[in-house]
Symmetry: C2
Subunit: 127 residues, 2 copies
Protein backbone atom coordinates (compact mmCIF):
# COMPACT_ATOMS: atom_id res chain seq x y z
CA UNK A 1 0.00 0.00 0.00
CA UNK A 2 1.47 3.40 -0.95
CA UNK A 3 1.58 6.36 1.43
CA UNK A 4 -1.51 8.07 -0.01
CA UNK A 5 -3.60 4.88 0.26
CA UNK A 6 -2.41 4.34 3.83
CA UNK A 7 -3.28 7.94 4.74
CA UNK A 8 -6.73 7.64 3.13
CA UNK A 9 -7.41 4.45 5.07
CA UNK A 10 -6.24 5.98 8.36
CA UNK A 11 -8.66 8.90 7.94
CA UNK A 12 -11.50 6.55 6.99
CA UNK A 13 -10.75 4.52 10.13
CA UNK A 14 -10.53 7.68 12.24
CA UNK A 15 -14.09 8.66 11.32
CA UNK A 16 -15.45 5.09 11.47
CA UNK A 17 -13.91 4.28 14.85
CA UNK A 18 -15.14 7.57 16.35
CA UNK A 19 -18.63 6.93 14.97
CA UNK A 20 -18.54 3.42 16.47
CA UNK A 21 -17.01 4.63 19.78
CA UNK A 22 -14.30 2.03 19.14
CA UNK A 23 -11.75 3.91 21.25
CA UNK A 24 -9.16 1.15 21.11
CA UNK A 25 -9.07 1.37 17.30
CA UNK A 26 -9.27 5.17 17.41
CA UNK A 27 -6.25 5.33 19.71
CA UNK A 28 -4.22 3.03 17.49
CA UNK A 29 -4.41 5.61 14.69
CA UNK A 30 -2.92 8.42 16.78
CA UNK A 31 0.69 9.30 17.59
CA UNK A 32 1.32 9.71 21.32
CA UNK A 33 2.12 13.38 20.77
CA UNK A 34 -0.83 14.12 18.47
CA UNK A 35 -1.91 17.78 18.45
CA UNK A 36 -5.54 18.71 17.90
CA UNK A 37 -6.44 22.29 17.00
CA UNK A 38 -9.71 24.19 16.52
CA UNK A 39 -8.60 27.49 14.97
CA UNK A 40 -12.07 29.07 15.28
CA UNK A 41 -11.87 29.00 19.09
CA UNK A 42 -8.06 29.00 19.26
CA UNK A 43 -8.19 25.78 21.30
CA UNK A 44 -5.44 23.18 21.28
CA UNK A 45 -5.25 19.71 22.85
CA UNK A 46 -1.88 17.98 23.20
CA UNK A 47 -1.33 14.26 23.40
CA UNK A 48 -3.25 11.09 22.64
CA UNK A 49 -4.59 10.67 26.14
CA UNK A 50 -6.20 14.15 26.39
CA UNK A 51 -7.46 13.99 22.81
CA UNK A 52 -9.13 10.62 23.37
CA UNK A 53 -10.72 11.92 26.57
CA UNK A 54 -12.02 14.98 24.66
CA UNK A 55 -13.73 12.71 22.14
CA UNK A 56 -15.03 10.27 24.74
CA UNK A 57 -16.49 13.12 26.83
CA UNK A 58 -17.91 15.04 23.87
CA UNK A 59 -21.54 15.71 24.79
CA UNK A 60 -24.61 14.67 22.79
CA UNK A 61 -25.48 11.66 20.68
CA UNK A 62 -23.19 12.79 17.88
CA UNK A 63 -22.67 10.96 14.60
CA UNK A 64 -20.22 11.46 11.78
CA UNK A 65 -20.44 10.41 8.16
CA UNK A 66 -17.79 10.95 5.50
CA UNK A 67 -18.86 13.13 2.60
CA UNK A 68 -15.39 13.01 1.05
CA UNK A 69 -11.81 12.15 1.93
CA UNK A 70 -8.94 13.57 -0.09
CA UNK A 71 -5.52 12.06 0.63
CA UNK A 72 -2.16 13.20 -0.71
CA UNK A 73 0.99 11.57 0.65
CA UNK A 74 1.07 12.19 4.39
CA UNK A 75 -1.71 14.81 4.29
CA UNK A 76 -5.46 14.48 4.03
CA UNK A 77 -8.67 16.44 4.34
CA UNK A 78 -12.05 15.06 5.34
CA UNK A 79 -15.41 16.66 4.58
CA UNK A 80 -17.73 15.38 7.26
CA UNK A 81 -21.49 15.42 7.77
CA UNK A 82 -21.79 15.66 11.57
CA UNK A 83 -25.18 15.16 13.17
CA UNK A 84 -26.66 15.47 16.65
CA UNK A 85 -30.32 14.42 16.53
CA UNK A 86 -31.76 16.11 13.44
CA UNK A 87 -29.16 18.90 13.44
CA UNK A 88 -26.55 18.56 10.71
CA UNK A 89 -23.32 20.51 10.49
CA UNK A 90 -20.54 20.06 7.98
CA UNK A 91 -16.98 19.88 9.25
CA UNK A 92 -13.69 20.31 7.40
CA UNK A 93 -10.84 18.39 9.00
CA UNK A 94 -7.16 18.51 8.02
CA UNK A 95 -4.79 15.67 8.90
CA UNK A 96 -1.02 15.36 9.08
CA UNK A 97 0.45 11.86 9.32
CA UNK A 98 3.88 10.75 10.44
CA UNK A 99 6.22 8.67 8.28
CA UNK A 100 4.97 5.56 10.00
CA UNK A 101 1.35 6.38 9.18
CA UNK A 102 0.14 7.72 12.54
CA UNK A 103 -1.99 10.84 12.83
CA UNK A 104 0.18 13.57 14.37
CA UNK A 105 -2.04 16.60 13.80
CA UNK A 106 -5.78 17.17 13.36
CA UNK A 107 -7.17 20.62 12.56
CA UNK A 108 -10.95 20.92 12.81
CA UNK A 109 -13.18 23.60 11.32
CA UNK A 110 -16.89 23.83 12.15
CA UNK A 111 -18.44 26.35 9.77
CA UNK A 112 -21.79 27.74 10.97
CA UNK A 113 -24.74 28.78 8.82
CA UNK A 114 -25.16 32.52 8.29
CA UNK A 115 -27.21 34.93 6.24
CA UNK A 116 -25.57 35.98 2.96
CA UNK A 117 -24.50 39.60 2.54
CA UNK A 118 -26.56 41.63 0.11
CA UNK A 119 -25.28 42.73 -3.28
CA UNK A 120 -24.90 39.40 -5.04
CA UNK A 121 -28.53 38.36 -5.48
CA UNK A 122 -28.17 38.89 -9.25
CA UNK A 123 -25.66 36.01 -9.41
CA UNK A 124 -26.84 33.46 -6.86
CA UNK A 125 -29.72 31.10 -6.24
CA UNK A 126 -30.61 29.87 -2.73
CA UNK A 127 -31.47 26.35 -1.67
CA UNK B 1 1.62 14.55 -15.55
CA UNK B 2 -0.75 12.22 -13.71
CA UNK B 3 -4.31 13.21 -12.76
CA UNK B 4 -3.45 14.09 -9.15
CA UNK B 5 -0.55 16.35 -10.20
CA UNK B 6 -2.77 18.04 -12.79
CA UNK B 7 -5.49 18.61 -10.20
CA UNK B 8 -3.00 20.01 -7.68
CA UNK B 9 -1.65 22.40 -10.29
CA UNK B 10 -5.15 23.54 -11.31
CA UNK B 11 -6.02 24.40 -7.70
CA UNK B 12 -2.70 26.22 -7.22
CA UNK B 13 -3.42 28.20 -10.38
CA UNK B 14 -7.00 28.90 -9.24
CA UNK B 15 -5.75 30.59 -6.07
CA UNK B 16 -2.81 32.32 -7.74
CA UNK B 17 -4.84 33.70 -10.65
CA UNK B 18 -7.59 34.96 -8.31
CA UNK B 19 -4.96 36.60 -6.10
CA UNK B 20 -3.41 38.23 -9.18
CA UNK B 21 -6.83 39.18 -10.65
CA UNK B 22 -5.67 37.33 -13.76
CA UNK B 23 -9.22 36.62 -14.90
CA UNK B 24 -8.19 35.21 -18.26
CA UNK B 25 -6.12 32.50 -16.56
CA UNK B 26 -8.79 32.02 -13.88
CA UNK B 27 -11.45 31.43 -16.55
CA UNK B 28 -9.29 28.92 -18.40
CA UNK B 29 -9.35 26.65 -15.34
CA UNK B 30 -13.16 26.50 -15.18
CA UNK B 31 -15.64 24.34 -17.06
CA UNK B 32 -18.41 26.35 -18.74
CA UNK B 33 -20.99 24.70 -16.46
CA UNK B 34 -18.99 25.08 -13.24
CA UNK B 35 -21.14 25.12 -10.09
CA UNK B 36 -20.05 27.14 -7.05
CA UNK B 37 -21.70 26.48 -3.70
CA UNK B 38 -21.48 28.09 -0.25
CA UNK B 39 -23.32 25.62 2.01
CA UNK B 40 -23.27 27.97 5.01
CA UNK B 41 -25.57 30.45 3.22
CA UNK B 42 -27.16 27.89 0.89
CA UNK B 43 -26.06 29.98 -2.08
CA UNK B 44 -25.26 28.54 -5.51
CA UNK B 45 -23.83 30.13 -8.65
CA UNK B 46 -24.12 28.33 -11.98
CA UNK B 47 -21.82 28.78 -14.94
CA UNK B 48 -18.40 30.22 -15.63
CA UNK B 49 -19.66 33.64 -16.60
CA UNK B 50 -21.64 34.28 -13.37
CA UNK B 51 -18.90 32.75 -11.24
CA UNK B 52 -16.23 34.95 -12.77
CA UNK B 53 -18.44 38.01 -12.28
CA UNK B 54 -18.95 37.04 -8.63
CA UNK B 55 -15.18 36.95 -8.08
CA UNK B 56 -14.52 40.10 -10.08
CA UNK B 57 -17.21 42.01 -8.14
CA UNK B 58 -16.26 40.63 -4.71
CA UNK B 59 -15.87 43.68 -2.49
CA UNK B 60 -12.78 44.67 -0.53
CA UNK B 61 -9.05 44.43 -1.20
CA UNK B 62 -9.05 40.68 -0.59
CA UNK B 63 -6.01 38.42 -0.76
CA UNK B 64 -5.64 34.68 -0.68
CA UNK B 65 -2.65 32.56 0.25
CA UNK B 66 -2.50 28.77 0.16
CA UNK B 67 -1.87 27.13 3.51
CA UNK B 68 -2.22 23.65 2.03
CA UNK B 69 -3.52 21.88 -1.05
CA UNK B 70 -4.43 18.21 -0.93
CA UNK B 71 -5.11 16.61 -4.31
CA UNK B 72 -6.41 13.11 -4.95
CA UNK B 73 -7.27 12.11 -8.52
CA UNK B 74 -9.98 14.49 -9.72
CA UNK B 75 -10.70 15.89 -6.25
CA UNK B 76 -8.86 18.41 -4.13
CA UNK B 77 -9.19 20.51 -1.00
CA UNK B 78 -7.51 23.83 -0.36
CA UNK B 79 -6.88 25.39 3.02
CA UNK B 80 -6.68 29.10 2.41
CA UNK B 81 -5.56 32.08 4.47
CA UNK B 82 -7.86 34.84 3.20
CA UNK B 83 -7.16 38.42 4.20
CA UNK B 84 -8.87 41.77 3.83
CA UNK B 85 -6.64 44.47 5.32
CA UNK B 86 -5.43 43.05 8.64
CA UNK B 87 -8.40 40.69 9.02
CA UNK B 88 -7.54 37.07 8.40
CA UNK B 89 -10.05 34.28 7.90
CA UNK B 90 -9.31 30.68 6.98
CA UNK B 91 -11.32 29.07 4.21
CA UNK B 92 -11.80 25.41 3.32
CA UNK B 93 -12.49 24.86 -0.36
CA UNK B 94 -13.43 21.58 -2.06
CA UNK B 95 -12.85 21.04 -5.78
CA UNK B 96 -14.21 18.57 -8.32
CA UNK B 97 -12.45 18.37 -11.67
CA UNK B 98 -13.66 16.91 -14.96
CA UNK B 99 -11.80 14.20 -16.85
CA UNK B 100 -10.15 16.85 -18.96
CA UNK B 101 -8.85 18.67 -15.89
CA UNK B 102 -11.31 21.57 -15.69
CA UNK B 103 -12.87 22.68 -12.41
CA UNK B 104 -16.55 21.68 -12.48
CA UNK B 105 -17.49 22.28 -8.85
CA UNK B 106 -16.19 24.50 -6.05
CA UNK B 107 -17.60 24.27 -2.53
CA UNK B 108 -16.50 27.05 -0.19
CA UNK B 109 -16.64 27.10 3.61
CA UNK B 110 -15.86 30.24 5.61
CA UNK B 111 -15.63 29.22 9.28
CA UNK B 112 -16.02 32.13 11.71
CA UNK B 113 -14.33 32.56 15.09
CA UNK B 114 -16.49 31.77 18.13
CA UNK B 115 -16.17 31.37 21.86
CA UNK B 116 -15.61 27.75 22.98
CA UNK B 117 -18.32 26.03 25.00
CA UNK B 118 -17.51 25.45 28.65
CA UNK B 119 -16.75 22.00 30.05
CA UNK B 120 -13.51 21.18 28.30
CA UNK B 121 -11.11 23.63 29.95
CA UNK B 122 -9.39 20.67 31.68
CA UNK B 123 -8.24 19.36 28.29
CA UNK B 124 -7.49 22.42 26.19
CA UNK B 125 -5.09 25.32 26.01
CA UNK B 126 -5.96 28.58 24.21
CA UNK B 127 -3.78 30.55 21.89
Amino acid sequence: MDETSRTRQAVRDYVASAEQRDWRRFGELLADDVVYEMPQTRERIRGKSAFMQFNQEYPGDWHMEVRRIVADGGFAAAWIDARVGDEHQDACVWFDLSEDGLIVRVTDYWPEQYEPPSGREHLVERW
